[in-house]
């Protein structure tokens, strides 16, 4: 079992700039009735106004529950959560005025056209009639939806629905926009479109908090990333700082054709230029059982001081000495995925 580092980074839970906090979370806990463990287990962080904040973690890490509590749909078991300075537990009604939510799955009003979805949403939030028409026209244009404004959302694709929901969320000019897995399940073109629109929002006043299990998304969009697993915050920093916190400049991932004991790993670690070796284990996924770690074919990640390509031959030789053949090699510079593996000993998916 790889070692889980509870707090490998000395991370600051609050942003460094003093722009004022759009969101502040202190020791937030959620335990669902009859659940054996906390879904969110003492999470603290702060998000500065105008910041793009990413919650990165695998499914079930507690990201959606955290967002649920910040948006008043999930009642916290303990701790405190402030949005725009308003306590979401004490004053959920006022908190709702500060936030907008783009959920994972479409919750568009199927009885209304796209334009009416936007207009009525603004009406719920008290935007004056003329203003909501103007804003709807503007956002429909911005999100490339003008030609379908009169259609009902029934037959919209995932990407179109996502665009409508983001446009709808912006109708009441929220201080904080929450996006739960904004591009999961979208095709590449739709994902790029959503990313572009979100990048544009960075330059506006609105604070973005997005959950994702996609490290590219987090690295591309977020100013700072919080890595969550099992309801806890494992690390929080800018993507660059998180990656920079890992030793080495390059990574080399090796897969062998059979399982191995610790001696191989030790031998690999002894190679010159190898800073650290991590064993990667497969996760059970979609109901399929993963074999126990000891029975899995060897898969290791080497963190290196120099060029990864130069280490392939020596590493292959070490494997051969132990009766293993090299099956797969991946060279790379560290990514957020490596940070996650470093923190948990598991891959993100």
């Amino acid at each position: 079992m790889p070692k889980v580092h509870p707090r490998p980074y000395d991370f600051e839970v609050l942003p460094r700039n003093d722009a004022g906090h759009a969101v502040e979370v202190v020791d937030l806990v959620k335990r669902y009735p009859k659940a054996p463990v906390n879904a969110v287990d003492g999470v603290s962080f702060g998000v500065a106004a105008g910041e793009v904040f990413g919650l990165l973690g695998p499914n079930g890490a507690g990201k959606t529950t955290t967002v649920g509590m910040l948006t008043t749909r999930v009642r916290p078991t303990g701790g405190r959560a402030l949005v725009g300075g308003i306590d979401v537990m004490r004053d959920p009604v006022r908190a709702r005025r500060q936030v907008a939510v783009v959920p994972q799955r479409s919750n568009l009003d199927r009885s209304l056209s796209i334009r009416d979805n936007l207009v009525f949403h603004a009406a719920y939030h008290g935007v004056p009639a003329r203003e909501r028409e103007r804003r709807a026209a503007e956002l429909l244009d911005q999100f490339g939806l003008l030609d379908r404004a009169g259609d009902k959302p029934d037959f919209f694709s995932g990407g179109q629905g996502q665009r409508v929901m983001i446009a709808r969320a912006l109708m009441h000019a929220p201080q904080v926009l929450f996006l739960d897995e904004p591009t999961t399940g979208l095709d590449p073109a739709a994902r790029l479109f959503v990313w572009d629109r979100l990048r544009e929002l960075r330059d506006s006043e609105v604070t973005l908090i997005l959950t994702t299990h996609d490290m590219d998304e987090a690295a591309f969009l977020a100013d700072r990333v919080a890595i969550m697993d099992h309801g806890r915050l494992l690390a929080l920093d800018t993507p660059a700082a998180l990656i920079g916190g890992l030793e080495g400049e390059g990574t080399l991932e090796l897969a062998a054709d059979g399982s191995a004991d610790g001696a191989v790993v030790d031998a690999l670690a002894a190679l010159t230029g190898v800073e650290r070796v991590e064993t990667v284990h497969l996760q059970a996924e979609n109901g399929a059982e993963a074999p126990p770690p000891a029975a899995q074919p060897l898969r290791v990640r080497l963190y290196l001081t120099g060029d990864a390509a130069l280490h392939v031959a020596p590493a292959a030789a070490v494997l051969a000495d132990h009766g293993l053949a090299l099956q797969d090699v991946k060279l790379g510079t560290p990514t957020l995925e490596d940070v996650f593996i470093h923190l948990t000993g598991r891959t993100l998916r």
Binding site: Y32, G68, T71, T72, R73, V74, R75, P92, V93, R94, R96, R97, V99, A100, V101, P103, R105, S106, N107, L108, D109, R110, S111, L112, D116, F120, H121, A123, Y124, H125, G126, R168
Partner: protein
């Protein structure tokens, strides 16, 4: 401090009105579907039991006049119930449409209250439409202006009972069980609510009289009979109104609790 609080309340009421306006807007645009949904069933009941059976001589002349208030009660209760139950099951279950309203700047209770108010409005429209339809099919309907206050009270309480049932069912029933709502709830309610027979006449069928006494709709039917055809033996109006008030309190409190459970984790 009165200023900000008053402003806050104004915002909440504005949200409430906007959600109500959305419901009315959708109903207006789907008016034929709405009318078909609420009118067809009582229309056929009225036609078959009031007109056809009478014309064939299977029922006595005054049966249609005895049936009519019962069908008004049926329409009032079932329309309110349907308006709430089915959309709620769908909105909490799979369309998730309600989320946008739950995130509007108003208390969660307002979202439930709006649903109830909207159900009442639809129930009133459906019941009032039955009056001209009754004239059309039966030639004449029983009507007494002196019974008007009781008539209104019966309709309002009947719609509230229906809305209470709807709230309860809508938050209790799992989406995959929506079929059971029809067979296990609607049908029994429909036939044990004394809409087709006056309750005191069930003396000869004692067990069924007990069963029907447990259905709040019975008291709606009986109060409307008391208002429109007092010569037919009926349960005392004050008993009807009292039982209905109690039933509404119970159904609403359990229903609202269920609503909160579904709205907030």
């Amino acid at each position: 401090m009165a200023g900000p609080i008053a402003l806050e309340q104004a915002t909440q009421w504005r949200a409430f009105r906007a959600v109500l306006r959305r419901d009315l807007y959708v109903t207006w645009r789907e008016l034929p579907a709405f009318l078909a949904q609420v009118i067809l069933q009582p229309l056929f009941l009225l036609f078959v039991f009031g007109k056809v059976l009478g014309s064939l001589g299977y029922t006595r002349n005054n049966y249609a006049h005895l049936l009519f208030p019962g069908l008004l009660a049926l329409t009032a209760v079932l329309t309110a119930m349907q308006t709430l139950a089915f959309p709620l099951v769908a909105e909490f279950g799979w369309t998730k449409e309600i989320e946008d309203r739950l995130l509007a700047p108003m208390p969660t209770l307002f979202v439930a209250a709006e649903k109830v108010l909207f159900a009442l409005l639809r129930s009133f429209v459906a019941t009032l439409i039955m009056l001209p339809i009754g004239v059309l099919i039966l030639g004449s309907i029983p009507w007494r202006w002196s019974g008007f206050p009781l008539f209104v009270a019966g309709l309002v309480l009947g719609a509230l009972v229906g809305a209470g049932f709807g709230l309860l069912m809508g938050t209790l029933v799992q989406p995959q069980r929506i079929n059971l709502l029809f067979s296990l709830v609607f049908t029994p309610l429909l036939f044990t609510g004394c809409s087709q027979y006056p309750w005191p006449s069930l003396d000869r069928l004692r067990w069924f009289q007990v069963v029907t006494a447990a259905n709040p709709m019975t008291y709606v039917s009986e109060s409307l009979r008391g208002a429109l055809v007092p010569s037919v033996p009926h349960i005392q109006p004050w008993i009807c109104l009292l039982v209905l008030a109690v039933a509404i309190c119970v159904l609403m409190s359990v229903g609202v609790k269920g609503f909160y459970r579904r709205a907030i984790d």
